[in-house]
């Protein structure tokens, strides 16, 4: 009995994005879609334990939820004829502006990541509607109280309805710009999982997993876009090192990781994607980041890392994205080629004094240069600037090792 409940919930979670997206396309109403999906889940929980999970559970949920939505529209029409007259004008035909690719989830992903919505609302809405995470789970992931997150999501849904944000994949000429917003959201979701900003679990595998799952869907739908392949490659090559990255509650930096603990299957898939991007030869930010991670995961030991290749890739990335964060990462790689003194000069130029990674990188260079007192101060500043428990534990150890 209990295992069936768990099975129903697992199916529901897996099917949720597809279910909501098809209901939104049919009825043009996110609230109605969510309510109908919820009713279908209740019915499944009642019926499936006795009858067994149907052979096509996704199809069962879609049909059941669709019927529930129509029932609801009929009920409300009787109560409020005028309002429902508008609701019944739902679009059951193909959209007049067909984008280059048709898929309900892709349409909804572009709606959730619409530039007219606040960036934090885009991430939350994507996780809620396509990831099937509960408001409570999303609130926990982003360390805000549940009512705040609930309000953020409700407000975004109200704006979508009132302002008539379309459910469609943008036209080809808008796609590159809009795709960028979608990739940013997926990357943010992953990063929040990979190095959680809060004091709770240092790594949140459910968020990294969800970002990868959504990026895989995007890749299926837009197989020709090298930046989508690049982002998927980047996420897989990063995820491959997740298990080796935390030991005894402490962050383990790349150089000290046990490379036998890396996931070889994910690395192989990531390398294939990077090769595919190279063949397409339309480089972009995520492809270059994926290539950098490919260089790291190619090296059997840290000493084998081709640092000149890493620095060359960061130079290429700087051309596209001359941000101080990119410059910081580049400087860390430069330290391996030209030594910590050169790297420290590069680091100290950057306006990142509020960023824990800047302090941590500076501390590391000072430590390597034997400037112990300054290194200690920098470690303290880095520890103060991060809430992540694994990162704090690692930085505290490094500081403690200084004499």
């Amino acid at each position: 009995m209990h295992s069936t409940t768990a099975a129903v919930e697992r199916v529901f979670r897996e099917e949720y994005g597809r279910l909501i997206a098809s209901l939104v396309r049919r009825f043009g109403d996110i609230d109605l879609a969510e309510e109908a999906a919820g009713e279908a889940l209740v019915l499944a929980l009642e019926k499936w334990p006795a009858s067994g999970v149907p052979p096509n559970p996704g199809g069962w949920l879609t049909t059941t939820a669709g019927n529930r939505a129509i029932d609801r529209i009929r009920r409300e029409r009787q109560r409020d004829a005028k309002h429902q007259a508008a609701l019944m004008q739902y679009d059951d035909s193909p959209h007049e502006h067909l984008g280059p690719v048709e898929d309900d989830r892709l349409r909804l992903l572009f709606t959730c990541c619409h530039p007219a919505l606040a960036p934090e609302a885009r991430v939350a809405l994507t996780l809620r509607l396509l990831g099937g995470l509960t408001v409570a789970e999303i609130a926990q992931a982003f360390l805000v109280p549940e009512p705040t997150m609930g309000q953020r999501i409700t407000r975004a849904k109200q704006k979508i309805a009132a302002a008539n944000v379309p459910y469609r994949v943008p036209e080809a000429h808008d796609l590159p710009e809009r795709l960028g917003g979608v990739l940013t959201v997926l990357f943010l979701v992953f990063n929040e999982g990979y190095l959680a900003s809060g004091a709770g679990d240092p790594v949140r595998a459910e968020l990294t997993g969800e970002a990868i799952r959504l990026t895989r869907i995007l890749r299926e739908l837009l197989p020709q876009e090298p930046e989508v392949a690049g982002l998927l490659g980047l996420l897989l090559l990063t995820e491959a090192r997740r298990e080796a990255r935390v030991r005894h509650g402490q962050l383990v930096p790349l150089a000290e990781q046990d490379r036998a603990g890396w996931d070889r299957a994910l690395i192989a898939e990531g390398h294939d994607l990077v090769r595919e991007c190279l063949a397409i030869n339309r480089p972009g930010r995520y492809q270059i980041l994926a290539a950098i991670n490919a260089v790291h995961t190619d090296a059997p030991a840290v000493a084998d890392t081709d640092w000149s290749q890493v620095v060359a890739l960061y130079d290429q990335l700087t051309q596209l994205d001359p941000s101080p964060i990119v410059a910081l990462n580049r400087a860390v790689a430069v330290a391996e080629l030209d030594g910590p003194k050169v790297a420290l000069t590069l680091i100290e130029r950057l306006p990142l004094t509020g960023y824990h990674a800047w302090h941590a990188a500076r501390a590391d260079m000072l430590r390597r240069l034997g400037r112990t007192a300054e290194a200690k101060e920098s470690y303290d500043a880095a520890i103060a600037a991060t809430q992540n428990s694994a990162e704090r534990a690692y930085l505290s150890r490094k500081r403690g090792e200084l004499v």
């Binding site: 007049e96 619409h114 009132a162 302002a163 008539n164 944000v165 943008p170």
Partner: protein, 120 residues
């Protein structure tokens, strides 16, 4: 189709050329706005539009009491005010935003896009 209010925001203080730097700039913006209005008509998005006299010419009326109370000046004393607006009828927000971008470029001001909740 959804109706949207497109409001143009600019400095409350105007010079002799409106909010523009020179007579030439003002005339260029007027011509571009006129051309933009023509495309709104031609493409069927036009509902209504207009430029507003300076905010200092506004009067606030509170008619909730027994006798209406009049106050000289705008409702909010701000550095930026609405200088003009369009009401358009567009299929969705993407179209409205695209039109707002063109209108903003034409008139030389920032444009706020806000959907109507309903129309009388």
């Amino acid at each position: 189709m959804t109706h949207y209010l497109l409001t143009v925001h600019g400095p409350a203080e105007r010079n002799e050329f409106g909010n523009y730097g020179s007579k030439e700039e003002m005339e260029a913006a007027f011509a571009a706005t006129g051309a933009f209005n023509d495309t709104l008509h031609a493409d069927g998005y036009w509902v209504f539009a207009g430029g507003l006299a300076p905010a200092t010419t506004a009067t606030v009326v509170d008619g909730q009491g027994e006798t209406p109370v009049m106050t000289d000046g705008p409702y909010l004393e701000t550095k930026e005010v609405i200088g003009g607006f369009w009401v358009i009828d567009a299929p969705d927000l993407d179209v409205a935003l695209e039109l707002a971008a063109k209108g903003s470029k034409a008139c030389g001001g920032k444009v706020e896009v806000r959907p109507f909740d309903g129309l009388a």
